[in-house]
């Protein structure tokens, strides 16, 4: 059993845990499961359908955008690159775990932590795969507003990181 559990990917483990927690909540709060499914059927179908669209968008980007795309454009550590890093982050598809190898590689190549924070902020806040969900549920205006917010939040996060690092430097910076 333990061997089987270990062999599963992290996404499958999370899914199984979520199903387990849902079961516990349903039992603990005596949720009417039939009613719950009937009430949320349309929403569930819409989400699953939008997931298929999102995966299609992610697939196209995966094949169109080269692997070294982010690496190529983030080598410079100047402040203007905080914006570029955010923009590249918003265009990079995939879950955050999938981009850690890119982030690590960028760090090895000498990209500063502030740029990495801007990149991570942009990547996690918004992305192409979110478009069908947010436009479908909240409208185009909402999604455009979120893109705009993400493009502001990324550089601000990078600048704040620089400010904090002056007070509390990263360990590597202390050593150097």
């Amino acid at each position: 059993m333990l061997k089987w559990w270990k062999s599963l990917g992290p996404d499958i483990k999370i899914a199984i845990l979520l199903i387990g927690i849902s079961g516990v909540l349903m039992l603990f709060y005596s949720v009417d499961v039939k009613q719950l499914f009937i009430t949320n059927l349309a929403l569930t179908i819409k989400i699953l359908y939008l997931t298929v669209v999102a995966i299609a968008i992610t697939t196209v980007i995966h094949f169109l955008v080269p692997v070294d795309f982010a690496e190529k454009y983030l080598k410079n550590n100047s402040l203007l690159y905080l914006f570029y890093a955010t923009l590249l982050g918003t265009l990079t598809p995939g879950p955050v775990y999938a981009i850690y190898p890119i982030v690590l590689e960028l760090r090895r190549k000498g990209v500063s932590n502030a740029i990495l924070v801007a990149f991570l902020t942009g990547q996690t806040i918004i992305g192409p795969a979110r478009a069908p969900f947010e436009i479908g549920f909240f409208g185009l205006k909402f999604y455009l507003f979120r893109i705009l917010l993400a493009l502001v939040m990324g550089p601000v996060a990078g600048l704040l990181y620089i400010a904090f690092s002056r007070l509390w430097p990263d360990i590597k910076e202390i050593k150097s």
Binding site: A15, L36, N113
Partner: protein, 141 residues
């Protein structure tokens, strides 16, 4: 032609894993949203000031488990109940910016100072984004 086949294979491999994860996430989210009561949201809106609601929203987002897409059913329910747009933006942004599992991963990769600082920075930028959304909610929706 070969590229199209490769793309289709990749699409298929991603699709089933993601659908399973999203399906489980949706189950969790609809279960959780069925526990949200309109009266509780009303009390929260009446008794708690908006900036504090935004902070609650982002902290709730930070600790919420699961993939990005599971927030949507909860957000739709909250929007139906008339929750301020700033809180919705704080939840949607806070949910993905940093979470306990990524905190540990980042500490392993970059040292513990990196995720601590990123957490504080995320807290501030999400709050600012929430406040901006609250101020501009008339234009957003």
């Amino acid at each position: 032609m070969i590229k199209a086949v490769t793309m289709l294979k990749y699409f298929q491999s991603q699709l089933w894993r993601t659908l399973f994860l999203v399906g489980a996430g949706v189950l969790f989210a609809v279960t959780l949203s069925s526990l949200i009561r309109l009266e509780a949201v009303d009390v929260l809106q009446e008794k708690v000031a908006l900036p504090l609601q935004i902070i609650y929203g982002e902290l709730l987002g930070f600790i919420s488990p699961g993939p990005r897409y599971i927030m949507y059913p909860i957000l739709i329910k909250l929007q139906e109940f008339g929750v301020n747009m700033g809180v919705i933006i704080a939840l949607i942004s806070g949910h993905v910016l940093i979470e306990p599992s990524t905190f540990l991963v980042e500490a392993g990769f970059f040292g513990y100072r990196f995720p601590i600082k990123r957490f504080v920075v995320s807290l501030i930028v999400t709050f600012l984004a929430g406040m901006a959304a609250a101020a501009l909610s008339g234009f957003v929706c």
